[in-house]
């Protein structure tokens, strides 16, 4: 344990230093691609907090991404906010939305919660399309031109680190273990004195902040958003597949899943654009059939690895 810490911490420091230095030397494409990986780590890690730990599968997590994107974009475009402040506001807005939705919906049992979340996303998409004055409706919303990709790279990277660090802190705490009891047996957890509703709600709020900030950052980086670009079901599906692949309920599973699948996706996308959707379907089926716990979950169970992986 101590030995592994002596290896892991310096290794992590080296990786982070390399990623921090990368924009000075990397190509424009490389920086953009890495920025995308950061975003996916933040999204997958956040989904893992609610769904990987408590087993309450959120099929509408992109709603928080979209809510953050629109909040950030509106504040930048209409109120002249700076993008870092708008990004924070995106996180706050997503968290408030999670409170509004989680309060009634987390009382529902697993499958009903999943469907309710799916519905939430469609409702939000319809709402932003309707309020044209504020959101531009179906025409989308353009932000003032600004080249901030490099700065956003660092902020998105910090967000990915923060989400992963938070996951570590939660999973190694009794709060995290209690979240897992909800996944394992919610009735027994209640009978043992665990206030499962409050635990789920806290996890849900925490899981919304990261996507909210990521949404606002993405909106700023791309300079233009429209309902179909920030509320697509595909983003939720991608988060889910990344976590399932890497290992749900683990600290590093979402990181591994996000990085691995993004790289695979880029390669396939470039070479065989038409097979690209097929690939994701195949991965889902393969993961569910062959290793339902994902890569790290499988290793953890087989080799009795600590919860810190």
């Amino acid at each position: 344990m101590r030995l592994s810490r002596a290896v892991v911490l310096p290794a992590l420091a080296v990786v982070l230093a390399a990623l921090a230095a990368y924009p000075m030397v990397g190509s424009g494409y490389g920086v953009r691609a890495t920025l995308q990986v950061f975003m996916w780590i933040a999204l997958a890690g956040s989904w893992n907090l609610i769904s990987g730990l408590t087993g309450y599968v959120s099929f509408g997590h992109v709603a928080f991404f979209g809510a953050g994107a629109y909040t950030g974009a509106i504040l930048v475009a209409h109120a002249g906010w700076s993008w870092p402040a708008a990004a924070l506001a995106g996180g706050v807005a997503a968290c408030l939305l999670a409170l509004l939705i989680g309060y009634p919906c987390l009382r529902l049992k697993g499958p009903y919660f999943a469907i309710a979340m799916l519905g939430l996303n469609e409702v939000l998409r319809a709402l932003v399309s309707y309020f044209e004055g504020l959101t531009g409706g179906g025409n989308g919303l353009s932000l003032p031109t600004l080249d901030a990709t490099r700065a956003i790279y660092y902020v998105m990277g910090a967000l990915a680190v923060a989400v992963t660090a938070m996951t570590y802190a939660i999973i190694t705490s009794r709060f995290g273990l209690r979240l897992m009891t909800i996944r394992e047996d919610e009735v027994a957890a209640e009978a043992m004195g665990i206030d499962t509703f409050r635990h789920k709600l806290v996890a849900f709020l925490l899981s919304a902040v990261g996507p909210g900030i990521a949404g606002a950052l993405t909106a700023r980086d791309q300079g233009y958003i429209e309902p179909i670009s920030v509320f697509p079901l595909a983003i939720t599906v991608t988060m889910i597949v990344m976590v399932l692949f890497g290992g749900k309920g683990t600290v590093w599973g979402p990181v591994l899943g996000a990085a691995a699948l993004f790289v695979i996706q880029e390669i396939v996308w470039a070479r065989y654009p038409y097979v690209h959707p097929l690939l994701f379907g195949t991965i889902i089926v393969a993961v569910v059939l062959l290793m339902p716990r994902g890569v790290l979950g499988l290793l953890q169970l087989k080799y009795r690895l600590p919860r810190t992986i």
Binding site: R178, M180, E190, G193, L301
Partner: protein, 233 residues
């Protein structure tokens, strides 16, 4: 003063009264048995006491305060712990983690206490093993000490003897007697009559959701209505 008072509790599912007008009271520091044929409402009654099933009528009072209508976790926090007929450990948590999740306060203290509890049921060597990998009997012990970790005043045990070998059972029964000596109250549902007769000071008998007898085990065994309920007229 009674620790637990169940007053005319009724619970129906659809048109079927699973528990009908049942009343009894439990005094502190005693062991009680709840027996009855299959489907007589024993587990439903447990669920009504612990808040897992909302009751249709009647009252449940614990330490003189009403607890019917409270959420299960609030009932548990008041000091009522239970085990389940079908074991409900958290399979993908380790044996020690199964105990840690119910604790509050400093973690190192909680871990020490958890290890003591596992040693108490001779499972200290399996602290880091996933509960789902343990044998049936071991899981039962983990579930038993998990209840004790919450330091309950009243402990409801749903068939503690079922599927447990003799040696283990004797340890378990000795532990239950010790809990009683500490001043805790125990109510157990059990089919093994030897266990009930040897351990319980008072036995309640349920049949078709109604309490048909109450008294010391010796008298209960000779009660005609009880014999009829079990063996038919």
């Amino acid at each position: 003063m009674a620790v637990l008072a169940v007053e005319s509790v009724t619970k129906s599912f659809g048109g079927v009264a699973a528990v009908h007008g049942v009343s009894f009271a439990l005094e502190a520091g005693r062991i009680y048995g709840l027996i009855g044929p299959n489907g007589s409402g024993k587990t439903t009654l447990f669920n009504c006491i612990t808040g897992l099933e909302p009751i249709d009528a009647g009252r449940v009072r614990f330490k003189d305060e009403r607890i019917d209508g409270l959420k299960p976790w609030r009932v548990a926090r008041r000091g009522i712990g239970r085990t389940f007929q079908m074991i409900r450990v958290f399979p993908e948590l380790t044996a020690l983690e199964n105990l840690l999740v119910v604790t509050r306060g400093p973690r190192d203290q909680a871990e020490r206490r958890g290890r003591e509890m596992l040693a108490f049921v001779k499972l200290e060597g399996l602290a880091g093993e996933y509960a789902g990998n343990l044998s049936y009997g071991q899981q039962k012990l983990v579930e038993f000490v998990r209840v004790l970790m919450t330091d309950p005043t009243l402990i409801l045990l749903d068939e503690p003897a079922a599927g447990v070998n003799r040696t283990l059972l004797n340890d378990l029964l000795a532990a239950v007697a010790r809990l009683r000596d500490e001043g805790r109250t125990i109510l157990l549902v059990e089919h093994d009559m030897k266990v009930v007769m040897g351990l319980c000071e008072t036995v309640f008998v349920l049949d078709h959701g109604e309490k048909i007898a109450e008294g010391p085990p010796g008298l209960i065994q000779a009660d005609e209505r009880v014999i009829e309920a079990y063996f038919g007229a």
